[in-house]
């Protein structure tokens, strides 16, 4: 992807993201991150040092150069002189003003994972300032450096150390300044709470005083001068959401809360079913309503009006006919996936299978074998704030505020859709009402911008919940075939695993198995699909960890003992043991009404083990999860309370996909696309949850927003099995209870 060429791309007339969606015809533009691409595009930041200080005021500027770009350049800090351009590949920057205010600029975005807080801690730690003195500017394509997007649990392992290095370099520069000013040895100085002190003379200066009248700019040094975790005072400690007060008072403006003078409200005319195309349209009645603008451009039809009520009235006044095409339904979903394997895929390079040893040998060596099929339904992210965008055209430039995990990606989509040079588009992402992997795309922003251009006024477009359930994208459904061979002493001899459509994340087994054949098979798929918290790791762990339980049962071994016997990975072993100890695994015997299950895995640098206790109602088949213990390890813990919140939340979110969430569809329609029909976890579904955080101060911090989710479904399935003797192999496991 070369972002510089976007301005010259010949794009068809505005084509909403859904227009090309036909069953089995994947649209490559929709999900660039499906396979977790992290390659960075060629990007050239064009502000120079001089312009920077014009915008920010004087002080000290530290520029984070992307590590890969830095390699090959001279080691050590680079100091930039007047007029010199800044380096080409920048990941973030940090500015300390002459007033001592610290402003950090990053393209990462906040949607509830609380990185605004954890990144603040990173800077406070290394810069020796209080968190309150730091402001984070996030996800503004004019103000922050390019960032591919906030997904893949990448913020903590990548942006956090980047900002720490920048802050550390800033402190170093401040110490230099003080040493020079006072004519003392820099190593004798100390820094705390935004001040540098010379203990010998008792002299002390605030950073602001040192920076008066200065314009200093440099990159961070290449060496790693970071504070070791055992000396952390801000990191490693709980810090509440930095701007929490704005949220409990209703003051925070989410994307759907943004309002501009003269703004109109948009609505989009949606096709009657997925894949339908417009055959005829009459917009006269709608156009006759005073103040209403109607846009009809290809398959795109929308209205803009001075009030939401008027926009709704205009929308129903449009008369349109649609041509529908036959569509697969959820009833035949898994047969469809199995029968539509794609050898060549437009969705990225097909991965080759993961093989070890000889799978044929494995079956010969096995005393017992078990082969089973698992399925995973489509589910919806259902962020409580649906897609929303406010678009404004001003002096030929397009300004958009929208809830997205990829502000720079949306900027590219807008530039392409409207044939604009990228520097004519600015996307801002106010902290949004969640994403869970569901807000990667820019369709709502494009729609709002198209309406705004026609109306020549700013337009706000907030998708209805029904639109969000139908025209966004889903977590991919999947079919997984697993075969395991085992000796009677509990040694797994072979493992064969085929995932159809749901994805390759977490597909490899963490267990020590001599003979393996593991393959992901991309298929055609009936619904628009993309990223979801944890990606396919949830599906793959559900199948793997359920099947591990099956094998343990075959040789009559305790499920935990069986896992540990086949496991060499010490970090995974440690969380299994930590969870089991807290849960008191094995201390209580399962009954017909009460069962216990355990499951775990490794994904995105995080290690999770989950124990679940379920209660079964034998008379009506109701399944109630009563207790969950989750042990999680992701290296050195940055914010224990924030991390615990993520682990709790991931497990609660996981309850939905495990027990009841599923998208029903037929004839191109989503049949349960509203919250009265699509069941998400509520208070009565929530069990007692105990979280064990295994804090490895000796290891780099990994992200934590996704992986804690993946153990819940198999732990619950295994618990149901221990009570009922019934193995449930389809997610959701109990949409209307289970048959006992």
């Amino acid at each position: 992807m070369n972002r510089k060429t976007n301005s010259s791309v010949v794009a068809p007339a505005l084509r909403p993201a859904f227009a090309g969606l036909k069953p089995g015809a994947p649209t490559p533009m929709i999900e660039p991150e499906r396979y977790e691409l992290f390659s960075s595009p060629a990007y050239h930041f064009d502000l120079n040092r001089r312009e920077f200080f014009k915008i920010l005021g004087g002080g000290l500027l530290i520029v984070c150069v992307m590590p890969r770009a830095e390699a090959g350049q001279e080691a050590g800090a680079r100091v930039f002189r007047r007029g010199q351009p800044l380096p080409a590949k920048i990941s973030a920057w940090l500015h300390i003003g002459e007033n001592g205010r610290v402003t950090v600029y990053t393209g990462k975005v906040e949607m509830g994972q609380n990185i605004r807080t954890s990144l603040t801690q990173a800077v406070a730690e290394e810069l020796r300032v209080v968190p309150e003195s730091i402001q984070m500017v996030m996800g503004d394509t004019d103000l922050t450096p390019y960032d591919m997007g906030t997904f893949g649990s990448r913020t903590t392992p990548t942006m956090n150390p980047e900002l720490r290095k920048a802050a550390s370099a800033a402190l170093d520069a401040l110490l230099d300044l003080a040493a020079k000013t006072w004519g003392v040895d820099k190593t004798k100085l100390s820094a705390a709470a935004g001040k540098i002190t010379d203990p010998a003379s008792g002299r002390s200066n605030e950073y602001a005083q040192l920076l008066k009248g200065k314009e200093l700019a440099q990159t961070m040094p290449a060496e790693d001068p970071l504070t070791p975790p055992d000396r952390w005072t801000v990191m490693g400690q709980p810090l509440p959401k930095v701007d929490g007060r704005d949220f409990v008072t209703g003051k925070h403006k989410y994307p759907s809360d943004i309002s501009l003078p003269g703004m109109l409200y948009g609505r989009i005319l949606r096709p009657t079913s997925l894949g339908a195309t417009l055959t005829s349209i009459d917009t006269k009645d709608a156009e006759g309503i005073e103040g209403v603008t109607v846009v009809h451009d290809g398959d795109f039809v929308g209205v803009a009006a001075p009030s939401p009520a008027l926009a709704a009235r205009a929308l129903v006044a449009i008369h349109a006919d649609w041509k529908t095409t036959p569509q697969p339904s959820s009833k035949e979903l898994f047969e469809y996936l199995k029968q539509n394997v794609e050898e060549e895929t437009g969705r990225g390079r097909r991965e080759s299978p993961h093989t070890t040893g000889s799978i044929e040998d494995a079956w010969k060596k096995a005393d017992q074998k078990s082969a089973q099929t698992y399925t995973v339904a489509y589910i919806a992210h259902t962020p409580l704030e649906p897609r929303a965008a406010v678009a404004e055209w001003k002096d030929g430039k397009l300004n958009v505020w929208t809830g997205t995990q990829r502000p720079f990606g949306v900027k590219g989509e807008l530039a392409a859709a409207f044939h604009l040079p990228e520097d004519h588009v600015r996307v801002r992402m106010p902290d949004t009402g969640a994403g869970y992997g569901g807000k990667h795309t820019g369709e709502c922003a494009i729609e709002a911008a198209r309406l705004a251009r026609a109306a020549d006024r700013p337009v706000k477009l907030v998708w209805t919940r029904e639109e969000e359930f139908t025209w966004a994208y889903f977590r991919p459904a999947g079919l997984i075939e697993v075969k395991g061979g085992i000796r009677n002493d509990g040694t797994i001899t072979g493992w064969e695993f085929h995932n159809y459509n749901s994805g390759g994340s977490g597909i490899e087994s963490p267990y020590d198995i001599a003979n393996q054949y593991i393959e992901f098979h991309p298929t055609k798929y009936p619904l628009r699909q993309g990223s979801y918290r944890g990606l396919a790791a949830t599906a793959n762990h559900f199948a793997r960890e359920s099947h591990m339980d099956d094998l343990a049962h075959l040789v009559k071994m305790d499920p935990l003992e069986f896992r540990l016997k086949n496991l060499k990975n010490d970090r995974l072993k440690a969380v299994f043991q930590a969870a089991a100890e807290k849960f008191r695994w094995g201390k209580t015997t399962a009954t017909a009404e009460r069962g216990f299950g355990i499951a775990g895995g490794v994904e995105k640098g995080g290690y999770i083990a989950t124990c679940a206790e379920v209660k079964l109602n034998r008379s009506n088949g109701e399944v109630k999860i009563v207790r969950v213990v989750a042990a999680f390890e992701c290296g050195a813990v940055v914010n224990p309370d924030g991390l615990q919140n993520q682990v709790e939340g991931a497990n609660i979110m996981g309850i939905g996909g495990a027990l009841f969430e599923h998208i029903d569809f037929a004839d191109g329609r989503i049949l349960n696309g509203r919250l009265s029909k699509y069941r998400v976890p509520r208070f009565s579904d929530v069990p007692a949850i105990e979280v064990v955080l295994v804090d490895r101060k000796d290891l780099p911090s990994a992200g934590a927003g996704e992986t804690p989710l993946i153990g819940l479904a198999p732990a619950v399935g295994n618990a149901i099995f221990s009570a009922a003797g019934v193995r449930l192999r389809s997610l959701p496991m109990a949409p209307v209870g289970i048959k006992l």
Partner: protein
């Protein structure tokens, strides 16, 4: 269509000019820029739009503004007094009872109504009362803890 010209919100009279059948949520958000009340589903299922009408929790997305015109409307913006947070607001902060916080205003207002009718709810009573409010981030246990904390701090304090 009858018009509504005045609303009593957070103790202040607001002039409006809207049809009586427009949703209260839309009037609050789009006419008065009181955006603390959120749209989540439009069918009264998620609780993000909850406001108090004469102290009772109501889904403003399915409440016509005409039905609220004679009532005292309380939104999240009116809960703090003289810059002092309501004990529930403080308790949500203290317990870190949110992630994206889009559900928070609805949670707090629903909980405010609960504590008014039942100042010392048991955990199961809290869960039952809050059942209609959805938190997709999964902070339910913290929300329950926050409501209990607020109940504790409101002991003996008339509000």
């Amino acid at each position: 269509m009858p018009k509504i010209t005045e609303l009593n919100i957070n103790g202040t009279r607001h002039s409006v000019d809207v049809d009586a059948d427009v949703s209260l949520l839309s009037v609050l958000r789009d006419q008065l820029d009181l955006t603390g009340s959120k749209y989540g589903c439009g069918e009264g299922q998620c609780g993000a739009c909850t406001v108090l009408l004469d102290g009772l929790p109501r889904r403003s997305c399915i409440t016509k503004v005409g039905a609220a015109a004679s009532k005292k409307i309380t939104t999240i913006e009116g809960l703090a007094s003289d810059g002092n947070l309501h004990p529930l607001q403080q308790a949500f902060l203290d317990e870190g009872a949110f992630q994206c916080a889009y559900c928070t205003s609805g949670m707090i207002l629903t909980a405010a109504a609960l504590l008014k009718s039942n100042p010392h709810p048991a955990e199961s009573e809290i869960a039952t009362f809050m059942e209609g409010n959805i938190c997709r981030c999964g902070t339910h246990l913290r929300i329950i803890a926050a409501i209990r904390r607020a109940a504790e701090s409101m002991k003996g304090v008339a509000r």
